[in-house]
């Protein structure tokens, strides 16, 4: 039996310790679609050394920018980011839940002005990190349903 089911990547980003079941949502929110030009590997339901199960995503030839990292933190706050350069881990860090969230998810309140055709980006302040709770800057609606409202 082979120890690794997916081979190491030369350059790119490995998102590890994704909350189990969230890998496909991570791909969606960082904008990886069918037309991606490099190899993407998705590992779902992998045993975690920390106990329990996790998902892993490997994206070759792409380093995530901070705005994309904020999005990952919203649906998987314990995820770690490994930036790989020439097969080595050049940078490693845990994603951080930002203090405010701008333009990456919509307000769960259908009556909120940000859900109408107005030239305004939805904006939220983080009320609590565990459980992750966001408050709309415009209508004050509190939401914990993060992944359902990602744009």
């Amino acid at each position: 039996m082979k120890e690794f089911k997916v081979t190491p990547i030369r350059n790119g980003t490995v998102i590890d310790h994704i909350q189990v079941g969230m890998a496909l949502k991570v791909l969606r929110i960082i904008g990886v679609k069918e037309d991606v030009s490099s190899t993407v590997s998705v590992l779902m339901h992998v045993p975690s050394k920390k106990g329990g199960w996790k998902d892993i995503v490997k994206i070759e030839d792409r380093e995530l920018d901070p705005k994309e990292l904020d999005k990952v933190a919203l649906i998987s706050p314990d995820a770690t980011i490994n930036i790989i350069r020439d097969y080595n881990v050049a940078e490693k860090f845990v994603v951080e839940v930002p203090k405010s969230v701008l333009g990456i998810m919509k307000c769960s309140n259908p009556g909120c002005i940000t859900n109408k055709s107005e030239p305004v980006e939805p904006e939220f302040v983080v009320e609590s990190k565990k459980p992750l709770t966001l408050k709309c800057v415009y209508c004050d609606r509190i939401t914990t349903e993060i992944s359902e409202n990602l744009i």
């Binding site: 009556g111 909120c112 002005i113 940000t114 109408k116 107005e118 800057v137 209508c139 004050d140 609606r141």
Partner: protein, 311 residues
């Protein structure tokens, strides 16, 4: 802190400290002779209020208009979007930017929650929120507080019983938060299906007040210093028989007032339907028409403060 009102947007009661609210009420008190027409004022001479009402309003719109006129200013705007550029599909953001150029201060009522906060981002001039959907209505809250202080001498220490539709009524959400901040005792009376939403209860408790919850008005009315009544809307009930039952149980009439405290005041944001019997109007308890009038001095205070005419 009681300064710094010049240029300020009045969007949510949550943006204000207790001291700031007290200061607004103090200024409103001084405005009373002008509001009643006993004194003339040119405090806002030459100033223009842009009055944008995307939803129907009687008291709020007219009292803003009266407040501006009493202070020597003038008002322009619309009381329904039909016939304006809004009907052609203009965004609120564009309308606000245009009106911002024509006026010195803007009052906005809009069906979408958060509309006033968004407008404040687009306008250089102060925005006064006159109700945004089921959201905030801070000037109503301030005139309610003004009425309580004027009738009872103070706000804190009073037992305020709030009865009616506590689930959907925006007035009671802002008011109960403000009363909690002032340290008033609160009791919420409503049928279980229309009780105060958990989110609001949590917020009120975080301000240090533990409200009592009841579904029986007769049990609590004798302990009330202030009885704040709101309308129960028929359309919230799928079954008309259920509505009749609930509406009947929360109707204030003379027998209901038999054992209430002397000096207890009854308030209502109006319009009322059947929840307060007209026979109550003549009692010493009825303060709802005075409350509606108080919208004028309170809005005069806010307009003159955000325009920098009064500190």
């Amino acid at each position: 802190m009681s300064d710094g009102f010049k240029g300020m947007d009045i969007v949510s009661i949550r943006d204000f400290s207790r001291d700031q609210i007290e200061h607004v009420l103090d200024v409103a008190e001084k405005m009373l002779p002008i509001a009643k027409g006993e004194e003339k004022s040119k405090l806002l001479d030459g100033k223009i209020l842009g009055s944008l009402f995307y939803e129907p309003s009687t008291r709020t719109r007219l009292s803003f208009d009266a407040a501006m006129t009493r202070l020597g200013g003038s008002t322009l705007g619309f009381d329904e979007p039909k016939g304006s550029s809004v009907a052609k599909g203009e965004t609120l953001a564009d309308t606000i930017r245009m009106v911002d150029a024509y006026c010195d201060v803007i009052v906005l009522r809009h069906p979408q929650e958060g509309a006033a906060r968004m407008s404040a981002h687009f306008a250089d001039k102060p925005i006064l929120n006159a109700g945004d959907g089921a959201g905030q209505h801070p000037t109503q809250t301030m005139l309610d507080l003004f009425t309580i202080r004027k009738s009872k001498g103070k706000i804190d220490g009073n037992h305020v019983v709030i009865v009616g539709d506590l689930k959907y009524g925006r007035t009671v959400h802002s008011l109960s938060e403000a009363l909690a901040m002032f340290g008033a005792e609160l009791t919420f009376v409503a049928p279980p299906s229309l009780q105060m939403p958990k989110e609001h209860l949590k917020h009120i408790q975080s301000l240090g007040t533990k409200p009592k919850i009841s579904s029986n008005l007769e049990d609590v009315i004798k302990d009330a210093d202030v009885l704040y009544v709101t309308r129960i809307q028929k359309e919230r009930f799928p079954d008309p028989a259920e509505y009749q039952k609930v509406a009947g149980a929360f109707r204030i009439d003379l027998p209901m007032l038999k054992d209430v405290k002397k000096g207890m005041v009854i308030m209502h944001p109006l319009p009322r339907v059947t929840e307060i019997s007209p026979e109550v109007d003549k009692t010493e308890h009825a303060k709802y028409f005075e409350q509606a009038f108080n919208g004028v001095p309170v809005r005069m205070a806010l307009l003159s403060m955000v325009l920098g005419a009064v500190e």
